[in-house]
Symmetry: C3
Subunit: 150 residues, 3 copies
């Protein structure tokens, strides 16, 4: 079987990968409106032209704790969700055992949802644990890919 | 037709996707040299070893408004352009109506160019509008992908 | 030959691309634990709930030079490694000359490793040089892709 056959609707590994990638993208996209909502609620804007939306004489602010917390969670998504999604495609091509691969995609994606929830609610050690689950999935897949294509 | 047939030069949807992805990457890449140019112009460097390029006794600075504005626009690109490009690949595989798909890629990519222009020139509500166009495209594609591969 | 034939174990260009993408992802992933280690060493946490790990009465801090340096290097990775990896896939499909393509993937990935090393050790002009090598690779590939799929 060529590696291309992996990219098929008949391959449940690829279907799981594509599905959980879409869920991960949707999860990431929530962060922007969430930041925006808090900026309005707390009247904290990073740009002078935005300040006018809520107060004509206000100034740009960068130290609102609620806004900055969402932004830190969002940046953490960029650092972790994106490598997870990118390497997943190549991992699918390495013809992995289906049950392992599907659970990696599931665990990686769900752990990032839990990461956001625990970050926004200051829940430790849950934030750290969920962070390491996805990191572990991505490292595992990357090593498999590096060895397969070497 | 297998979903793989979508990745072909004969498929105008895939061609449009690949083309607009390249344009989006090029747009994103402009931000780094732009930041660098402003750092030199405004003598604002984030690293002590860089400060020496323009003044031997200067210090690192993080609050130049022009530099920070480009950096905010750049971060916004990371948050939006990258999910847009990643989910686009799977959307192509869902065999979408060509005219809709091609216009989504076009609208998403062009709106990010307009977003950068309006961000750097403090143009509201154009920045917000262009932001929401690409966000809407990415959300739409993600939902289509999640439903198709479920 | 259809462009899909490029995605094959027989194609050394695709193999090189997948291998160096995995290396680049692994390199990026190192940054998070590195940041975490420095946060503990320098007792510098961005979240109130994390501060308690090292001192019960401490406060969140955002200005530790060592921590911020790793974070700047990490953000630079997001800005450069991710576009490099994304556009690489489409570049493989343009059926490039193998020796050129393989060296581009190698140069791009290795230059990002050197970028991190020189960033963390304040080595200029090596940081700038390694930055421009990967940027040049990504721009070259993006232009090839845009022209091929136009």
């Amino acid at each position: 079987m060529g590696i291309l056959d992996a990219i098929s609707l008949e391959n449940e590994v690829f279907r799981a990968y594509a599905f959980w990638t879409a869920i991960t993208v949707l999860k990431m996209l929530i962060m922007s409106p969430l930041t925006g909502r808090l900026r309005f609620k707390n009247k904290t804007f990073a740009n002078a032209e935005d300040v006018k939306f809520t107060s004509p004489k206000g100034k740009a602010k960068f130290d609102d704790e609620e806004v900055e917390r969402v932004r830190r969670a969002h940046r953490n998504d960029l650092e972790n969700c994106i490598p997870f999604m990118i390497i997943g495609l190549f991992y699918v091509l390495t013809n992995p055992v289906a049950s392992i691969a599907i659970n990696i995609f599931r665990a990686g994606a769900i752990s990032r949802i839990l990461h956001t929830i625990s970050y926004l609610n200051s829940l430790q050690p849950w934030r750290a644990l969920s962070f390491f689950v996805c990191l572990g999935c991505t490292i595992y897949m990357s090593i498999q890919v590096a060895m397969f294509f070497y």
